[in-house]
Symmetry: C2
Subunit: 393 residues, 2 copies
């Protein structure tokens, strides 16, 4: 069997689930968080780091790899796993979200998306068929249908985008030829419950091996995101994994798992790390803060990551002040560890029937970044091209 999902346990008091995804490159215990390796590298980390951190799945971006180095180059070198030296499971997105983010540089039509490269301005067309072909060249274990993500607040636009997303899903299924890749569908529908419901029902009828929920964390409120998850997740087949795209704040992971999500990806831990913002159980800290100049403590007492086991806040503060390359690596290790460790805690809590207790414990100590603040904007996947190239840098 190339791909499979076993639902191992469902929480008695929430929609949380324990499961296991099987892929040709290994298994993934769910709920799981996938670090993002946009350009065939999780920024500042090497594959050994990822294994040691316990990453069981990473995401890479079709849009970026198509442009550079080119899917044919990757295919000629044996596919993405061999190219980047990562032998674990990989998921590639379809580029839909990147194209959505390329505001002013792309045009959506029924045929596909005409866009100009953020690298050299060259013009390209992504059709559903071509996006599948590119993802088959890359060779990830899980690939995604091309979708049209829409601004969350425009109902008429969301209706048109949803119709196109559904038509494209059918074309993607028809174009897909590799039996060793699992093609997931993407539920859209903005912040409208009836559109989400319609999308979940349409895609479920296609009997795909897994389903993503897209178009969230793009500007709607957290309450709206939760509402959409509550509408959508129960409509998706219980025996298939459910993947919430682009979400990775600790509080969002806890809230979404409780609403039935099995899989997440997000640039948040890696991007924050490069901005010197580190997760702790008390909330985020910024390593550039002068109060850390002489602090001999680790980022977090008791943390088992390489960074916390060997280095002080003072040293990390120095590395960021001095703009040393090691700063980005050590900060990234901690943030990825933090989220992967949180996911392990979450899985253990589900198994023990105490997810709500974990959620309460965690959130009572964790200072949230207020919505609408500049710090919060870093947390969004970002609906702008700039934010995307930030991650590409």
């Amino acid at each position: 069997m190339h791909f499979g999902f076993s639902l191992l346990h469902t929480d008695a008091t929430s929609h949380a689930r324990l499961g296991r995804i099987i892929t040709p490159h290994g298994e993934i215990a769910t709920p799981a968080f996938a670090p993002v390796g946009t350009q065939a590298t999780v920024k500042a980390l090497d594959p050994r780091d990822l294994h040691e951190l316990g990453a069981e799945l990473i995401l890479s971006n079709t849009y970026h790899l198509y442009l550079r180095p080119g899917a044919d180059v990757v295919a000629g070198l044996g596919g993405l796993h061999r190219f980047m030296g990562w032998d674990g499971p990989i998921l590639t997105d379809s580029g839909g979200f990147q194209l959505f983010s390329l505001a002013g540089r792309r045009t959506f039509s029924d045929e596909g998306v005409l866009f100009r490269s953020h690298i050299d301005g060259s013009q390209h067309l992504f059709t559903p068929e071509m996006v599948i072909h590119v993802q088959e060249q890359l060779g990830a274990d899980i690939i995604m249908c091309l979708d049209e993500c829409a601004e969350p607040h425009d109902r008429a636009y969301n209706e048109r985008a949803l119709a196109r997303t559904h038509a494209w899903a059918g074309r993607c299924v028809a174009a897909h030829t590799r039996p060793d890749q699992a093609l997931f569908g993407i539920v859209q529908g903005g912040i409208w419950a009836d559109l989400r419901q319609q999308s979940a029902e349409f895609l479920t009828a296609l009997d795909l091996p897994g389903y993503a929920i897209g178009g969230l964390s793009v500007g709607e409120s957290k309450a709206q995101m939760h509402a959409m998850l509550e509408v959508t997740a129960p409509l998706l087949p219980a025996g298939k994994p459910r993947y919430l795209m682009g979400v990775g704040a600790p509080e969002d992971l806890l809230e979404s798992v409780a609403r039935g999500i099995d899989l997440f990806d997000c640039v948040l831990p890696t991007r924050l790390a490069r901005n010197a913002a580190l997760f702790t159980r008390q909330g985020r800290i910024n390593l550039r803060n002068a109060r850390f100049e002489r602090d001999p403590a680790p980022v977090e007492g008791g943390c088992g990551c390489y960074t916390c086991r060997h280095f002080s806040l003072a040293y990390l503060h120095h590395l960021f002040k001095a703009e040393e390359l090691l700063a980005y690596r050590l900060a990234t290790i901690h943030n990825v560890h933090f989220l992967l460790h949180l996911m392990r805690d979450i899985r253990a809590a589900i198994a023990a029937g105490r997810l709500s207790a974990l959620k309460e414990e965690f959130l009572s100590g964790y200072q949230l970044v207020p919505e609408g603040t500049r710090a919060a904007s870093l947390e969004r996947r970002g609906a702008t091209h700039k934010t995307h190239t930030d991650e590409a840098k």
Copy 2:
């Protein structure tokens, strides 16, 4: 014993020596090459990388650490070893070479060196006594006397600088209090054999635990460098280690070992790596070259470094084109491995009485960078401030 040097073997047909330096933080098999960690980090590497690469000594810069984070900060955090998480031997330079490089921003006088920080323009005075105090705060295993490095071609200036270097050496010895640190003297004298001789004799009379040769690889020709080594090394005591500062090109290591040098440091492997220039047995290659776009081979077939064991030229080419942080790390691992592996080969060849055969074999296949070219200028330690901040970035 805090510090010691055992001369294990002297080559029959050259001045090459095998030895062992003992320090409070471990032993160093010589001839040895020390990677440079200017700002308390070997750029892009962590301490585990350094151990795995087989580094037995690293160098850090007093000038840089004094300015940022400050020697008192480092001392308050338990010293440089603990601060940077490296438990092996460390050598700190005295700042003399950095001050020499700060052309237009510093004034040498008999008292010391008045200079303006390259970071914020603030004014500071380095005296011999203060440089020793700073190095005692940092706590390296081997520390250096303050010296005045001089442009190699001005005889009168070199005479004055040498007199000052000798006076300062005496003041450094008098100021030095920590018995667990070995204080080395630095032979100067530019490209004049009689000045080099005078310096070696003066410093030898101070009976220091080790001697460095400074002021080379700063603009003189390779032939001049070799001539100065041939004059100086035999005048230094056979039972003390001899350290050639700031030299690290493979051909220079081979030539200098044959002339009796035991120890080297240089930013070359790390700086070249960040410029995508990698060592191979055939010479340097640049990973940005378009010919590597689809090349599935490693940088060097048979190389045992992490980079060559896991990644293709095509992948490294992609990482550099995409300006990914992992590029600098993987390239640095290879270059440092290359030099440390060469030093192992050199030690084995001395033990087997075949150093000249190794030298001939290596140099017959290795394409040298022509002197005076732009690529060669990268190789110099750099007599400009810019070059230094390059390494600091």
